[in-house]
């Protein structure tokens, strides 16, 4: 039954650009899906592992720049670039994790903020690689055809399907991890680090693994973001606002759940994008407002709340 509903929803999602063919609607769905991936990325670390990062834009930016630089300098197709962007983000997360996870709780959160700022400044000043504040621009995307038909990159529909693939991958990975031994270890780390060590869990390794996986998905989203917008500069992909938005989406949607980030993104991004035309960063006011409401009235998030209505099970693992 569950599987049938899930399959139905996926088919509905795939058909959506045909059902409502307005470009704004397709754009909105693309942004919702991209933010779902970013929310899911943050959820793996902040939700399951309980380690709060305020610097996840680092990985979004790493993915975006990797994809852009590989395409502009080496001519590598963006879809490979997106994947490599994810891997580069995951690699960057390893040393950051090993250093920052020596700190616990709020000190870890602050260190991620510091690292994100350092990386932003590096990107701003390493002009030979990133073109600094000028940014990088893609004028044309490579010609490809799918099923005998040339893909029209001026339409938003192809981007929508790429976003669907990445989103489903991120949510599927969350579902698999939440049922696995790794998922259980992440929860143990969130609950009590001493007890986790006492039952034989190498908590530094587990936290670094979660960090790196989380960074991988943020990197994928970043690579996709760069391909979709075709222009990036350090402030567009490394800004603290992006890191904070990921936190909002994950928390409002529901931490430690699989579907939470999707719900959070649908809710917040729709609001945000609708108001973006009128005020440039006005959406952050709404994000903050809903974050406060959520923390006060449903700390388990929208999806967590809905799920609690259906099950009384104390198990938070799935």
């Amino acid at each position: 039954m569950k599987k049938l509903i899930l399959a139905g929803l996926i088919i509905l999602l795939l058909a959506a650009p045909w059902i409502i063919a307005k470009p704004f609607f397709v754009h909105l769905m693309i942004m919702v899906l991209m933010w779902t991936v970013l929310g899911a990325s943050w959820n793996l670390l902040g939700g399951f592992t309980g380690q709060v990062s305020f610097g996840h834009a680092t990985f979004l930016g790493a993915g975006a720049y990797t994809m852009m630089i590989l395409y502009l300098k080496c001519g590598l197709d963006p879809w490979y670039g997106i994947l490599i962007g994810g891997l580069v983000a995951a690699l960057i997360a390893l040393p950051i994790g090993y250093i920052c996870f020596r700190l616990r709780g709020p000190y870890f959160a602050l260190s991620t903020l510091a690292v994100a700022e350092i990386i932003r400044l590096v990107a701003l000043n390493w002009e030979s690689l990133t073109a600094g504040p000028v940014g990088l621009l893609i004028t044309t995307l490579p010609k490809v055809s799918f099923g005998g038909q040339a893909i029209n990159w001026e339409s938003k529909t192809p981007f929508f399907y790429i976003a669907v693939v990445i989103t489903l991958a991120a949510l599927w990975a969350t579902a698999v991890i939440s049922r696995s031994r790794l998922g259980a270890y992440l929860l143990a780390v969130r609950e009590d680090i001493d007890s986790a060590e006492a039952v034989g869990i190498n908590t530094v390794q587990v936290r670094v693994a979660a960090f790196s996986l989380s960074a991988f998905f943020a990197g994928l989203a970043g690579g996709f973001y760069a391909m979709y917008l075709r222009y990036i500069d350090p402030d567009a992909v490394f800004s603290i606002a992006l890191s904070v938005e990921m936190v909002f989406i994950a928390v409002v949607g529901g931490l430690t759940t699989v579907a939470g980030p999707l719900i959070g993104a649908i809710f917040l991004v729709t609001l945000g994008e609708t108001f973006r035309e009128r005020f440039l960063v006005g959406h952050l006011i709404f994000y903050g407002f809903f974050m406060m409401l959520s923390i006060r009235y449903m700390p388990e998030g929208i999806w967590g709340k809905v799920r609690n209505w259906f099950t009384k099970s104390p198990n938070t693992g799935n």
């Binding site: 259980a184 270890y185 609950e191 009590d192 007890s195 006492a198 034989g200 908590t203 104390p314």
Partner: protein, 239 residues
């Protein structure tokens, strides 16, 4: 061969010698009581053995292998499990999930880990609570959960840090029986306790420490007769 050997184990916290030149052996299959007045260094000794802190000097051998300074998770993987004096359950997870997490060490597949966890919960008498949140248990149940979680790592040596602290007399009797049962299954136990009656009944041997130093060692009967032990607990007689 001894299962565990401490040789001149010493730990300084700044100028304070919390554990000083501590030397004793633990034989396989025994229950060793570790007692001493408050602040004697019992918990510090546990933290040293379990790898939560590293010794300043001295050595710890487990099955002939030096484990001093090893990380806590590595010590657990060698076969030493511990409980905490102040219970630290994974509060927002169910009782079953708490123990399953520990069982994952020996059973990587969830189903087998859950089966192992259920067996252990039955042993400690928590089967009925397996779906409750660990944070909702009573203190006595949380103490048993700590033991269950430690057992799930399939240890050879179990370190119990005041498993009876805060329990009522009936619960203490139950806990004593549980400790004996665990020992009969071939797990060696070192046990820190303030409830002297229980420790005297259950332990094969007792080590007494005061100010971080060992002041007596022997059977429970020998130790209670030892004048130094009486002085440590009750103070010196007036002359």
């Amino acid at each position: 061969m001894s299962l565990l050997q401490l040789k001149g184990l010493t730990k300084f916290f700044g100028g304070l010698q919390a554990v000083s030149e501590l030397t004793f052996d633990v034989q396989p299959g025994e229950i060793l009581g570790l007692i001493g007045p408050n602040g004697a260094g019992k918990t510090t000794a546990f933290n040293l053995i379990a790898g939560f802190i590293s010794p300043s000097t001295g050595e710890i051998f487990f099955q002939g292998e030096s484990i001093g300074g090893m990380k806590a998770y590595a010590v657990t993987r060698k076969g030493i499990a511990r409980t905490f004096q102040i219970v630290k359950p994974f509060k927002k997870l169910s009782v079953l999930e708490n123990v399953t997490l520990a069982a994952f060490l020996k059973f990587p597949a969830r189903r087998e880990a859950e089966q192992a966890a259920s067996r252990i919960l039955a042993k400690v008498g928590l089967s009925a609570k397996s779906q409750s949140l660990a944070g909702d248990l009573t203190l006595s149940e949380q103490k048993r959960l700590e033991i269950a979680r430690a057992l799930a790592t399939e240890p050879k040596l179990l370190l119990l840090d005041e498993p009876m602290g805060g329990l009522n007399p009936t619960e203490i009797d139950q806990a004593s029986k549980l400790v004996k049962t665990i020992c009969q299954e071939g797990i060696t136990i070192i046990w820190v306790e303030h409830v002297l009656k229980a420790i005297m009944n259950v332990s094969d041997r007792v080590v007494v420490i005061n100010y971080g130093k060992k002041i007596a060692e022997g059977t429970p009967e020998e130790v209670v007769e030892n004048p130094e032990v009486i002085t440590a607990y009750l103070g010196a007689k007036k002359k």
